[in-house]
Structures are given as C-alpha cells and as structure tokens.
C-alpha cells in the first residue's frame, strides 16, 4: 500500500462502508453487487486487461465471446433478467459486451408489441434463437425522427409491407450489433397505405439467415468503420431493397394496419418514442454517472500519490491534491458525481410511477416525463463528459496513456452527448415544455408539480449578508430557482414580443433558441440542487454521512454560482459583494472536502479490475504498475518490422548517396 494513499484513509470523517451501503440503497444491495462483481471478475473470459492493446476486430470478437459466455454464467449463478443481480452485471462488465441492442430490441417489443407479438418474439430473443438490433437512425437523420426516409408500403394483395431505402441518406446507419451480429432488427420506417403517409412506425425485419448468417435477399448490411470508442460494438449500416415482411411484423400495441388497409390508433402517437424515454433515463446512471465516478476515483487517488514541486521550501514535494487549483478541478466534479447519483434516484422513482400510468393507457404524465428525460439526459451527460475530461487533463501526461483508463472513459462518455437524442435538441424540447407550462401558469392554469415554481415569481434580492449564509440550502436553492424563473420568463416574453411584432412563430423560436437552451439548463440545474439539498435533509438519522454530504451539496451549488456568475448577477438578485462571499465560501469548502476526498471516492466501491487503470488502483502502486503494464504492450513483444524494413537501411546509411 502506498503510504500517501494509506494516510488519506486514516483521517476519514465518516465510515466509508456505511456511505457505500447508503449509496447502494442498503447493505443487502451492496452484498449482492459485490457478489456479482466478484463472480464476473474472477472469470478470465471477462478480463479487460488486454483491452487497450486490442484491435477493432479483436475487441468485437471478445465482446461477442463475453456475451455468449454471460448466458452460461447467468444460468450457472442462477441470475435472471428480473432478479436483483441483473442491474449489477452491466456495471461489473463495464459495458464491454455485445448484444446491448439485443436488449433494446426486446424492450421495444415488450413496450410497443401486442401480447401476441410478445408471445411470439420474446422467447426467441431470450433464448438467443435470434439476435436483435434497433434500427432507427439513418445516415441523413438522427434525433429528428419525422425526417426518417425509409419507407414501408402496405400491400393489401399479399398482406405484407414492402420496405425500401429510397436513397443513400435513408440508409440505416449506427445501430449497434447490426454490422455483423444481428439476425433481426426493428426498423423504423414511414408507413404508407394507399399512397398516404402515416408517419414513422416500427417493423420487425429479418436481415440475416438463421442457418449460415448470410444476408437475406434485398439486404445490404455491414460495419460502419472505426469510431472514437465502442470498438467492441459492430455499429452497422443497412440498406433495404423491396424487403417484404408480413402484416403481423408491425409492432401494434398502440396502432394497427387492418387487413383491408384501415389504420387504427389507440392513444398518443408519442408512445412510439416511449422506448427512447426509457433508454434516456436508464443511460444516465450507466453511461454518465458511473463513468464520472470512475474518473474521479482514478484522478483523486492519483493526485495524492503524485507529488510534484514544493509548497514550502525545504519540505517534501507536495501531493498535487494539496494545490488549490487541483482541488478546483477535481472536487466540483466529485460533488457533481454525487449530485447526479441522487438525481438519478429521483428520476427513476418518477419514471416508475409514470410507467405504471402508461401501462394503464393513461398518457397524462408523458409530456412531463419526456421533458424530464430529455433535459436531464442532456444536462447530466454534458456535465459528466466535461468533468471526465477535466479528470483526464488533471492527471498530467500519464492521463493520456490508455493505461490510465481515462481516455477510454472519455471517448465513451462523450458519445452519450449525441446518442439517444442530440443534447441541444433535447434541451430545446425541455424548453418547449417549460415555455408551455410558464404560459399556462401565468394564465392561472394547473401545471405539473415539477414546474409549479414557475408561477411563483418572486422578484427580490438574495437575503444573504455574510459568507456563511451561502452555506444555507434555502439561500442557494432560492437563487437557482430565481434564475430558472427569470430565464424562462424573459425568454417567453421575448418570444411573445417577436410574434406580436409580426415575426412568424417558428422564426421567433429559432431566434430565441440560444436563450431557450440556457433556460432549460437552468431548470435542470435548479432541480438537481434542490434534490441534493432535500436528499441531505433526509439524512438526519445518519449524522456521520450527513455532514460530508452537506459539504458536497454546498460545493455543488456554490460552484455553479461561481462559474455562472453572470446569470445570478444579471438582474441584481445577487450583488457584487455577495458574489465575493460566494467565492470565499466556495474556496473554503475545497479545503474542507479535500480531507475526505479519498474516502469519498473509495465509497463508490470500484474494484481495481473495473477501473482497469494503472493510476487509480486502490493500493496506489502507480508507477510500478504503469511500468509493468507497458512492458506487456505488443509493441514491446515483437521486434518491430519497421526496423528491418525502413530503419535499418536508414541507419546503415544506404541513403548516404544523399
């Protein structure tokens, strides 16, 4: 054990084990999680040690192998899809596995399919008699679904749909598992009956033979080539030429084409997008918060092992975490990881409630759920992505080595800003909801509970009179609320002004869109701060943990004010003098949280194998590990062919004729 890291753990102000259990939602959850992680990590098939050295082909093959092996493992261990272990498997594998889209395929059938369709397809999928994918995005269109160009024309005579890719931009592009693995996929296409377009609908299409895996007639499919990350996933392209599927292959829980070509719909068409809402919520924890927690763990542990330069002459070189500038990079990111862990709990709860309603075909909560899932997906992924990059750059040169684990965390998380809805577009969707609610609230109409605050416009000033006032959750939550209301209100007013002055509605919207994005972010930021403060409030029974969580909550809130000073100062809600108090309070907190920084990341409870980092291991033997691991690089195993071919002639001066 590195003594610098050990000393950090001796001074923890709280019990790491208790905090871990609380984060997991109880001791029992922690136990199950650890058991799953243990079972997976002790199995060499799931090892990720060589991952950084592997080519795209090797990564893909390993991922398929793992996916196949996982089926066996689950059977052996008695884990099931609905068991309490399931949600920890993905975490234990760090998502480095194939057939994730297969699960989305199944989920979309469960949500959008009729009982009959569920009965037919789900067992096949569960037993891997087929491998599914989810083909929505096209070369030319992503987040804007109405623009998709793939067509499905109903043919009454044969009772079939004919699917086509009418032009190159209509080619399906990006769906995971589709390039090489999938046999079936859910294709989203514009439905045409009797020449009339009914919008985008999902169809189950077989693309590869179940016997020899060759492509079915009319299908062109393959891998879309190398990306920044996700080398283990065969993101694919798909071109359809007169591919016919039976009428029963259109997912028809909410709408149906009857044999005579009559189109019937039950409930909102928006329900088609419900899968996306589900996915957006579920990716917040797996793809954004957990990677940020890992990045914080690596960067913070490394920052107490790394000693650099001297703080005081004559003393030993200082741990870099003792530098205020280093704290300013890492500790707000750590606080954000906690804040988003709690907002995820909050969203999950909200979503579970909403889902029950939707199953009863009550769609009232859908707009709010949609706005929430869009806004928070965008805000959290964006924030976490920046924070992971900050962690990477806070580790000096070694952060750039793949062996630090940080580059792959970054290149992976950064994709989450785009997939499942491009963040700017999502924020604009949330903004649309906010503006609508703001108008309704101003007119005295009822609005969903999460936005009632928009009606309670209280002009005024921040009442804080000294530095410690800013450690009061009431004071800062109020400030965030004020900014959210002000930004939404002023944008709504500007929209109305523009429209009244004769600007067309859509033009006015485009002209306000920069402000709309800002308003949506402010709303999500406010809810996050408020939820963090409420979570801390509920911790009264756990005094040891509450104190440090309160510090983190304060830090998260004050960092937001410190780094977005302008919006708080703008209408004088916070004065210049108060802003200086915020800064002072914020900087003091850094020093306070610094003392518990290592225990706070230890509490995330990642094993060394799951971090897969030479810099972030629990024992802090950073340099030794880096050296030994680098020696395993394939570049060191074989004599470089470049030497014989190019260097030798160069060195031996066969070029001396020059």
């Amino acid at each position: 054990m590195n003594p610098d890291l050990a000393s950090e753990r001796q001074t923890a102000s709280f019990s790491v084990e208790k905090l871990t259990a609380w984060l997991d939602g109880g001791v029992e959850h922690t136990r199950i999680r650890r058991a799953v992680v243990e079972a997976i990590e002790c199995d060499p098939v799931f090892s990720r040690e060589n991952q950084y050295f592997q080519s795209q082909n090797e990564r893909y093959e390993a991922a398929v192998r793992k996916a196949v092996h996982l089926q066996k493992k689950m059977h052996e261990m008695g884990w099931t899809e609905n068991g309490p272990e399931f949600k920890y498997i993905y975490r234990a594998l760090s998502g480095d596995i194939a057939f994730l889209l297969h699960r989305i395929f199944t989920r979309s059938i469960s949500v959008l399919g009729s009982n009959k369709q569920i009965a037919k397809w789900i067992p096949l999928a569960t037993q891997f008699q087929l491998i599914g994918s989810y083909a929505q995005t096209e070369l030319g269109h992503g987040t804007y679904l109405q623009g998709l160009e793939t067509t499905a024309v109903f043919d009454i005579t044969t009772q079939e749909f004919t699917l086509n890719t009418p032009k190159i931009s209509a080619m399906k592009w990006w769906p995971g598992d589709m390039g090489r693995s999938a046999t079936h996929t859910v294709v989203f296409a514009q439905l045409y009956i009797h020449g009339k377009c009914y919008g985008v609908h999902p169809f189950i299409v077989q693309i590869r033979s179940l016997q020899d895996h060759s492509l079915c007639p009319g299908i062109t499919a393959g891998d879309i080539g190398p990306k920044m990350n996700f080398e283990h996933v065969d993101n694919g392209y798909l071109m359809l030429q007169n591919v016919r599927v039976p009428r029963e292959n259109m997912l028809n829980k909410f709408c149906e084409v009857q044999p005579d070509g009559t189109y019937v719909r039950w409930g909102s068409q928006k329900i088609n997008y419900f899968t996306m809402t589900t996915v957006r919520i579920s990716l917040i924890a797996d793809e954004a918060v957990i990677p940020l927690m890992k990045a914080c763990t690596i960067a913070i542990r490394y920052s107490v092992v790394r000693r650099q330069s001297k703080l005081k002459p004559g003393e030993q070189e200082a741990k870099i975490l003792d530098y205020q500038t280093q704290q300013e990079k890492l500790l707000p990111s750590l606080a954000a990881a906690y804040a988003f862990h709690f907002i995820n709990d909050y969203l999950q709860e909200l979503f579970d409630k909403g889902y029950k309603e939707i199953q009863r075909k009550n769609f009232d909560t859908l707009p709010e759920l949609h706005a929430f899932s869009s806004g928070f997906k965008a805000m959290v992924t964006q924030y976490c992505t920046s924070a992971v990059e900050i962690c990477l750059r806070a580790c000096g040169g070694h952060g750039y080595s793949l062996l630090s684990g940080l580059p792959s965390l970054y290149t992976r998380i950064v994709a989450s800003c785009i997939y499942e809805g491009e963040n700017t577009i999502l924020l604009l969707q949330t903004a649309r909801f906010l503006i609508k609610c703001f108008m309704a609230a101003s007119a005295g109409q009822p609005v969903p509970p999460s936005v009632t605050y928009l009606a309670a416009v209280k002009p005024g000033k921040c009442p804080a009179t000294n530095t410690s006032d800013f450690l009061s959750p009431d004071i800062y939550t109020e400030a965030y609320q004020h900014v959210a209301v002000r930004l939404t209100g002023s944008t709504a007013a500007k929209l109305q002004d523009l429209i009244q002055s004769g600007v067309k509605k859509h033009d006015a919207w485009n002209q306000c869109s920069v402000q709309l994005v800002q308003a949506a972010k402010a709303h999500c930021h406010y809810i996050t701060v408020k939820n963090f403060a409420e979570t801390v409030e509920k911790l009264k029974t756990k005094a040891g943990i509450q104190k440090i969580m309160k510090h983190l909550c304060d830090l998260f809130a004050l960092h937001g004010i410190f780094s977005n000073g302008g919006v708080f100062l703008h209408d004088g809600y916070i004065s210049g003098a108060q802003m200086d108090m915020v800064t002072a309070s914020y900087l003091d907190l850094l020093a306070v949280i610094r003392k518990d920084a290592v225990p706070l990341v230890d509490a995330f409870d990642f094993t060394d194998k799951s971090l897969n980092s030479a810099l972030g291991s629990y024992d802090g033997q950073v340099y030794q590990r880096l050296y030994e691991w680098a020696q395993k690089s394939p570049t060191n195993k074989q004599m470089s062919p470049a030497y014989e071919r190019y260097l030798k002639p160069l060195l031996h001066n066969t070029l001396s004729k020059l």
């Binding site: 893909y60 192998r65 190159i168 530098y323 990059e389 302008g566 680098a630 190019y646």
Partner: protein
Amino acid sequence: EALVVNDPDFQHEDLNFLSRSQRYEQAIRKSSLMVMKLREYGIADPEEIYWFKSFVHRGRPEPLDLHLGMFLPTLLTQATPEQQDRFFMPAWNLEIIGTYAQTEMGHGTHLRGLETTATYDPATQEFILNSPTVTSIKWWPGGLGKTSNHAIVLAQLYTQGQCKGLHAFIVPIRQLGTHEPLPGITVGDIGPKFGYDEMDNGYLKMDNFRIPRENMLMKYAQVEPDGTYVKPLSDKLTYGTMVFIRSLIVGDSARSLSRACTIAIRYSAVRHQSELKPGEPEPQILDYQTQQYKLFPLLATAYAFHFVGAYIKDTYRRISGDINEGDLSELPELHALTAGLKAFTSWTANAGIEECRMACGGHGYSRCSGIPDIYVTFTPSCTYEGENTVMMLQTARFLVKSYTQVSSGQRVTGTVSYLNDLSRQRIQPQHVAARTVTVRINDPVSLVEAYKARAARLVEAAAKNLQAELNHRKSKEDAWNRTSVDLVRASEAHCHYVVVKLFTAKLSEISNAAVRAVMTELCLLYALYGISKNTGDFLQAGILTNAQITQVNQRVKELLAIIRPNAVVLVDSFDFHDVHLGSVLGRYDGNVYENMFEWAKKSPLNKTEVHESFHKHLKPMQAKL
C-alpha cells in the same frame, strides 16, 4: 504541397483502418522517404521543412519529430564545436537517430524534481548514469521506444560529491548495426495512448551506464577532467527555446481549431435536418441559431489565434537578435506572456475542437469525420511543454510582480502597462471597479478597453487576496496556493485581453475593404461572445450594466446572422487540402453520404461477409440454447 499530395510514394491505406504497429510502420516509411526527398529537392529552410513535413504526415506526429525538432537543434545550440564535429554530421545523415529524454514517470513540468543522476568519475573520466527509482525512469519521449539509437538525457549532475542541477548528456542507447539495446539500458514503448499512434513514445532505464566526459553538452556549463564544475553565464538563455516552442503551440491551436471548424461548418451546410418552417424542405443545419452559436464564435477564435500566433513568432524573431547580443531585457515579459497564451489558446482550442465534433452529431463521432483524430493529436498540448495550470500561474506571478511594482510607484511597460492606471486611480481615492468606462459595444477599440478593465480588476483582486492571505499566515507559499484559483482567473483575463487587443490591432492593417469588414465582424463576435460568456466579471466590476449585457447578447445573435452567408467561404480561406483535412464530412465538394458509405465498406470488420465470430461463438451458442 502539390509535391507531396501527388507523390505516389506517400500514398497509403486510410490510417483509421490500421493497427498501431502498422501506423508506426507507415510513419517510419514516410519519414525515411521524406528525409530523402527533402535532400533531393534541396529543401533546407526550416519553415519549408516544417510545411513539407506537415503535408507528408498530414499534421500528425511522426517518430523522427524529436530527432529533427529537438535533437539536432539542441546539438546546434548546446554542443561545443568539438561535439558538433563528432555528432552533428552522423545525426544529419541519420546514422544517429536521437531523441530528447527529459520527462520522467514521476516528474514533468516541475523540472527541478527530475531524479535521473549523472555522477562524474574522475578516475575513468566518465559519467555514470542511473535511474535510481521507478519514478526516475524516463517516460514519454517521442521516438525513444523503438526508433532512436541515441538520446539527449537530462540528469542531475553530481561531481565532487555535490549536486549541480540538471544538465544534458548524449547517451547512446542502442547498438549501431543490430539496433539492440546496449547493456545497462532498458528501453521500450510505453504502450497505447489517446492518439499519437504513429509515435513510439518510450521509456528508458539506465543502470550504471557509463559515457565519456565529452558526452556532456558543454557549450555553457562544463565539468573539467578533474571534476571541477564551471558554471554557465546566464540561466535565462533556456527561456528562448521555451518561448519558441510555446509560440509553435499557439500556432498549432489556431491550425487545429481551423481544421475542426472547416469540417464542422462545411458539413453543417450539407446536412439538412428537421424543419424551421412548417411545410418547407428541411433546412441546412447551419441555419439554426443554436448551430451558429456553437460554430461561429469558434471560427472567430480560430482567426484570432492565427493573429496571436503570428504576433508571438514575429516578436520572438524581433528580439532573438537582441538575445544573441546578450540583451535579455524583453525576455521575462515575453516568457510570461507566452506561457499564459499557450495555456489560454490550447485550452480554448481543445474545447472548441470537441464542440465542433459534437456539432456534427453522431457522424462526428465516427473516425471518418477526421475530428477525433484532430482532437487526440491536439489535446496533449494542454499538458506538454508545460502543464496549462502551471503556465497560467507563471503568468500570474509576472502579473502580480508588475502589480507590486506599480503599487510601489514604479511604472511598468508592455502588455501590462494598463496596471499603471491603477496607481492613477489611487490618487483619486476610488476603487478600480468603480471607474466608469463608457463601452461602445460596436466598437472593437472600446471593447479592448472593457477587457483591459476586467483584467485590471481581476489582477488587482488576486493581488489583494494574496496580500490578505499573507497577512493571515506566515508562509508565502501557503498564501500563494490559497490564492491560486484567483490567480489563474486573473491570468486568463489578461490573456483574453491580449487576444482581443491583437485581433483589433490587426484590423487596421487590412487594406481590402471587404476583407476588413468581415474581419471586423469576426473580431466583434469574438469580443462580444467572450463578454457574454463571462458576464459575471463585467457586471461585478461595473464595466457593463445589465442593460448593456442584454444588448451584448442581442448583438451576438445579430452577428451570427450577419456572418452566416460568409461562413463557408471563411473556412475555405484556411485553404486545407482534402487530403490534409482527412475528413469525409469536411470534403470540399460536400459529397458526404456517398463517400461515408464507400469509406465504411473498407472497414476491417467488413473484410468478410460473415465475420469469424459467428462460427466461433454465435453458432455454438444458438445450438446449445
């Protein structure tokens, strides 16, 4: 450029589809060819070599970078004539391939902390080199892993029992002929990184490795045969090289950001999405305000940084004459300024490149967009040649020093001369923040004043906080550390001011009226966008009122619409060849989708119709379940 682009010898398969070993091999192949062709064409001017190299390697790093960029120049500047005779020609003819081994596993920017030792043994007249700890292993030097047979090693010199600090030694590391590592030398590649696949960044461990006394670079400091140490004349001389390299990074920030902007803006003109007006065809995404708001400020930034890079290069050229004549008076300021500007521009460009990539939606994430490659190649510059936060603090040290001089009644010159106004303020007892600057938001010159006021305020605030900490505590270092967040903010504000100032100054040099008009728009956008992103500073200091901030925000959006018609032409002006850009999305002809499909078909996963994983894993599983 045409020389390289049309040369069949420099053609090869798309690098995106190659493994790291293959990319290294390609790079070595091209570097070898490049050296031959340079000689063949008789290209010797450093500037021309730089361009030739940059076209051959398309702006990517290559294994001979350190040999050409560090090893040879260091020989020229730090070797004695006798040493030049021994090493320079063999190195010029590439019998010796060298690298520059400074960074260690445990220490980077903080050079004094390096641990490698070179102990002089008068009995044999040799230096004994050692890597005494794991952390002292040389780590990261480019070309060290597999390519080089020599290295200039930086080590702590011990002679007559005393440590004399860091000195440079020429160390042979591989046997000439077999290329095997020499006894006592452990050398290899440090493994995969975030980019830099072509480069064999290496490690080097030395165990009692002996080199002759004459292998210490002794133009300045010397060790005599009996071990007597002779001190160099000035230690400021090393500043010169650092200024030069940092000025290159500023230029690189501009170029990398320009490339990313070119790709993102061209693609945004090709991509149609969603609807702005019901019933009309899908608009170009560049017509969306949010898209313009992402890209145009970056375009303006790319131009701004071009001018900054050119300015530093010119200044350096201007004063390097003075340096050779021993006049070092201007060096400290330039050194402080380039440290900060290196950090400021590389941070901004780094974030900007990512912003460009994300503005390309999902396709930006594909390696065919070319932006991931630009990003991974560029992002290490935030760390190398001086970690950015440390750089900002160096600038801050200079700013605080200047502030202290002003407070004690002296006048300061150069870019910090605005601090002189602070003392004038003090005569009329008034806080700097309360000073009224009448800002005209459509006048770049007036905006320079606003940025100046902001920098002055933040420097003053940081200096005062530092003083307050000093009054509380005994230790100077503690006080400095507890103020460092403020200090970095002050440096950033100072650099931001310098950039706005240089951009504005450039405008008057443009003779063509149309060009001046569009550059003025970009300059205004750069300055106003900077204000809108830092409104807190301007509001808190009372430089701008709430109403003015609202106007600034409004004006930014108007400028977006004004720049929109010229956007594509503005990136075309950067004049990147398609081959150099390496991007399917950023093609000059805009035929994006067809070419993406063509590109993907070449992916290694597509080499066979049915992937071998099917037979190995999928089929057996399906059979069992």
